[in-house]
């Protein structure tokens, strides 16, 4: 197979379809043309390796999401188990099967449509296929509700990849995070499938209005309506709550975060500052409530009095911070800029959550907004640095170098 592909690659070299064969070859195997000797800088972390590392960090979330799809479905029908046991109620074949039939198709459609478009553009533009979609394709199924119709996902992926990425020049040139562009497109195009209390549980929409109606409101959704939710703190932390497929388990996201920081793929500065930003905003809201400035009948009361640190456990905030905000292409590039960038993502996410009842989740909007501002932040960081150095240069005393003296001596003697 490898040799056949290589032969095809050589045969079609310079032809129109060449990038497609090249891509398949490099995706599946090591290329035949590698250097074996001589002075070359060799590092293992090319784009493909980077992407695969992120995907590895996402796999636990995906698996958890598959089980959770089933768990939420059966719990919504039969009621939540009285004494929860991980192996009896969560890691069961029934749950996993629901996951296989609902989540896997999302993954397949996401990758199928996205990669097809990448191949198409590579062939049209005549460049090599870039691996940029590998992570996006994995992120997309994790940030949509479990029952998102597949054709909607396909349209959104096509839109996100073409308008969000290819028009800017492809992988590495995009301004907006493609996965979030896809999420935003779905949210504004098909709001009934992306929010409300029916979409988070498998078959929720289908059963709505019948005697078998089931619903699973997210924690944030309940808070936005000022009603109670039935999930304990540990449920929120471990992720046994309704929500988009892969975003519920804060524990596994935390593991993914540690893995990404350890492998130096994602920026810890963005993660830390985003968490700080969210906490600061949460604290301000809690402070306003504690000071008694907000009457209890206010529609913001429930959300504003929600303990500040619990914002990190519910909704997509943790997932967004770890896997989306840290996108190296769309985020800030400078170290100082990363602090500002992350901080505002956290701050804005919680602010949108609380103040805009139309958007029970604000993370994707906050990150997209900061994506747009990231180059501006970098610009001012760089300018600031230039100013600082110019100032230092002006006040510096410059001693003549010993080598200068040698030169002057030489000219004198000559």
């Amino acid at each position: 197979m490898k040799e056949k592909l290589h032969d095809l690659k050589v045969k079609y070299q310079g032809k129109k379809m060449a990038p497609a064969f090249n891509a398949l070859h490099t995706f599946l195997y090591m290329p035949n043309e590698t250097t074996h000797s001589g002075a070359h800088v060799r590092a293992a972390d090319d784009l493909k390796r980077t992407m695969n590392t992120v995907i590895m960090a996402l796999v636990p979330c995906l698996l958890f999401g598959m089980f959770n799809a089933g768990y939420q479905h059966y719990s919504a029908i039969n009621g939540f188990p009285e004494s929860f046991s991980l192996f009896d109620h969560f890691l069961t074949w029934d749950n996993f099967w629901i996951g296989v039939t609902t989540v896997l198709p999302l993954v397949i459609v996401s990758y199928g449509v996205g990669l097809a478009i990448e191949f198409l553009f590579a062939v049209i533009k005549g460049h090599e296929v870039e691996e940029g979609y590998l992570v996006t394709g994995m992120l997309v199924p994790l940030i949509v509700p479990v029952d998102t119709p597949l054709w909607m996902l396909a349209i959104a992926v096509a839109f996100g990849v073409v308008i969000g990425k290819e028009v800017f020049g492809g992988t590495g040139m995009n301004i907006l995070n493609p996965a979030l562009t896809i999420r935003a497109f779905l949210f504004f195009a098909y709001p009934t499938w992306m929010s409300g209390d029916k979409v988070w549980v498998h078959k929720g929409v289908e059963r709505a209005g019948t005697a078998d109606a089931i619903s699973g409101e997210t924690v944030l959704g309940s808070l936005a309506q000022g009603s109670d939710y039935a999930y304990s703190l540990s449920d929120m932390f471990y992720g046994f709550i309704p929500g988009s497929v892969g975003e519920t388990s804060t524990l596994l996201i935390l593991l993914g975060a540690l893995f990404l920081i350890f492998t130096k793929i994602a920026s810890w500065r963005i993660m830390v500052s985003a968490v700080v930003g969210a906490l600061v905003m949460g604290l301000i809201f809690n402070g306003v409530v504690d000071a008694g400035w907000l009457p209890e009948y206010s529609k913001f009361y429930a959300l504003m009095s929600f303990p500040y640190w619990q914002h990190l456990l519910v909704g997509g905030l943790a997932f967004g911070i770890v896997f989306m905000a840290t996108d190296p292409v769309t985020g800030s590039q400078t170290n100082k800029g990363k602090w500002y960038y992350g901080f505002f993502i956290g701050l804005l996410s919680v602010m949108i959550r609380v103040f805009n009842p139309g958007y029970p989740e604000g993370v994707f909007l906050a990150i997209l907004l900061m994506n747009v501002f990231a180059p501006t932040i970098d610009h001012y960081v760089v300018r600031g640095n230039i100013k600082k150095r110019l100032k230092r240069f002006k006040t510096a005393t410059i001693y003549p170098k010993s080598s200068d003296e040698v030169d002057t001596l030489k000219t004198e003697t000559a």
Binding site: W151, M152, A189
Partner: protein, 215 residues
């Protein structure tokens, strides 16, 4: 003999393609984004601009030798304002619902840069017949884009064309809706118009690469 000389024909043809006011000169974007959610509104807007620009260009062209250069902008504004008020009154009298949908945007034709642009760039320096052709050409170029954008936005966003349910009934679930199709709410909001216009610009420039600006 052809109805129009080649030069005159180009006055109409150019703005329709390679010198389109919206996609090449990027003028009149504001109204193109605001009123193209429905095809009907787009068509009415296109006709209104056609009238204002066609008549306005002739009027300015006739006056071009007696308008003092210092106050020409004011004179131009008076002419546009008069014409726009006529359009507005006609719409209010004969198509009240449409005038409601278009609301302030008919009045805002006054500020449409295409109109002032053609007055300044063409009508002030050319005779009435040529100015008329130029006005018609540019208004058609503007209208074509409006109708294209309106067509896609109404079809994908509401599943209708001119208010007719061409894709079936979304509530009774007939036609396309019976197999699970749903309207795309994104197409209703103005940012979608920006993207549709962007795609038209993309298609046009990749078909005629001479139009691509130097970076």
């Amino acid at each position: 003999m052809a109805l129009l000389s080649k030069k005159d024909a180009n006055l109409i043809k150019d703005p329709l393609a390679d010198n389109n006011p919206i996609t090449i000169q990027v003028l009149g974007i504001c109204s193109a984004l605001a009123i193209t959610a429905e095809l009907k509104a787009s068509v009415v807007m296109a006709i209104s601009v056609l009238f204002v620009l066609g008549v306005g260009n002739v009027v300015i062209s006739l006056l071009r030798n007696i308008i003092p250069a210092k106050i020409r902008i004011i004179v131009q504004l008076v002419v546009v304002a008069a014409l726009v008020i006529i359009v507005d009154q006609v719409l209010k009298a004969f198509a009240y619902d449409l005038s409601k949908t278009l609301s302030v945007f008919i009045g805002l034709i006054i500020t449409n840069c295409i109109i002032m642009g053609r007055f300044e760039a063409f009508a002030l320096g050319n005779g009435p017949w040529k100015s008329f052709l130029d006005g018609i050409g540019n208004a058609l170029g503007y209208g074509v884009i409006l109708v294209i954008v309106g067509f896609f936005r109404e079809l994908l966003g509401s599943g209708t064309l001119f208010g007719m349910k061409v894709l079936g009934d979304p509530i009774a679930k007939t036609g396309l809706y019976s197999i699970g199709y749903e309207n795309n709410g994104f197409m209703i909001i103005p940012p979608a118009a920006l993207i549709v216009v962007g795609i038209i610009i993309w298609v046009q420039r990749s078909r005629n690469r001479a139009l691509i600006e130097e970076a």
